[in-house]
Point group: C2
Chain length 221, copies 2
């Protein structure tokens, strides 16, 4: 493949973070195009970006002339287009489990705590910041309690969520833990999640994808 | 396959509705086990159900001894285990598009409007019903505006979301339109979505999966 890969990303977007990890795990050269979600009312709402991504959300992956949205669909695309190393295991049962763990985060935790949701609460309902933060923690705790059970009790949990190879579920879990810490969730209740996160972040593919390593991250104060 | 399939379902859950459509499209015999999401504080929170599904959400598909959660992961599992007729197209680009449309609904619309979210607003924040309903419509309109653009402008939209074969994206779109109507969203702004919905509901697989056709649906008043 000589077509270039460009990822429209925001340093702190956990959906973009998932795709950064996936690209790195595949060893795919790519450039990062920052989209600032707050500046000028949000660059994702500009006409130019909307033409790429009608949902006005990050990430968008450009692969040659293709414009690909939705982080989990992008990760599946990467896995189909560049199968090695795989992001999903080989058998249907294990693939289901990896996807279900990924979707636990990507459907049932993260969308509830997204920037646009918190902006709705602030601007439409005048919900004070402490209540907004409590809302964020509530859904992370709901999700992590279930994920911890699914991971701790299951024989196919290994070094990573599914066996000893990092994959789709880990791409979703690690960014969600980043958000959990940011909002002050006590991670001590989720020892398996914490152990897997540490194993992931020890890998260069995850480390390089961290928010604070991104070109658009603010300089440390 | 002689292992039985049982779907833990609630008649009005749109996540369960997606899987009902998928099972029907595949022609897979299955039984429906109703889980009443409101009675006794929600049967999905019972100890017995939680042992099946630690997220305490419907649907769960039991396939022999396997307990499978997350509607999109279940649909992918069905497609891998019983490949014919396919729920996903053959090439990576088209598969991405089908998944992205499915995830637009399953990640960015439906989780925000779920029962548990509306219960949080009512019980934790005392948000009045009109504001809760407005919230529901807001996210459906956001999602449908983008979906209409993605469907109306794209050469691979056919009778259904992706070509002329009903699949994953249709399994998600039709239940979301049901919710949209229930909450009074004006569907006239989304002619492509309405056209696809009508084409889907003309098929027995979709028709039999409708909420009002379920064993646990209340009798018409």
């Amino acid at each position: 493949m000589t077509e270039t890969l460009q990822l429209y990303s925001y340093w702190r977007s956990s959906a973009a973070y998932r795709v950064r990890i996936g690209l790195n795990l595949k060893g795919l050269a790519h450039s990062i195009v920052p989209v600032h979600l707050l500046r000028d009312g949000g660059e994702q709402h500009s006409e130019a970006y909307r033409a790429f991504n009608p949902q006005e959300l990050v990430p968008t992956l450009c692969h040659g002339q293709r414009r690909l949205g939705q982080s989990l669909a992008i990760l599946e695309y990467l896995d189909e287009f560049w199968p090695e190393p795989p992001l999903l295991p080989a058998n249907a049962r294990a693939r289901h489990r990896a996807r279900a763990l990924a979707q636990l985060v990507a459907c049932d935790v993260h969308p509830l705590n997204n920037l646009r949701v918190l902006q709705y609460f602030e601007h439409e309902w005048n919900v004070p910041q402490p209540e907004r933060d409590e809302w964020v923690r509530h859904w992370i705790v709901e999700g992590f309690r279930a994920a911890e059970t699914m991971l701790a009790d299951h024989p196919s949990t290994g070094i990573f969520c599914e066996g000893d190879v990092p994959g789709l579920a880990d791409c979703c879990l690690v960014p969600q833990v980043y958000n959990a810490r940011r909002f002050g969730v006590d991670m001590a209740a989720y020892p398996t999640i914490e152990r897997i996160e540490a194993a992931c972040l020890a890998l260069p593919a995850f480390d390089a994808a961290r928010p604070e390593r991104q070109p658009d991250a603010p300089a440390p104060s």
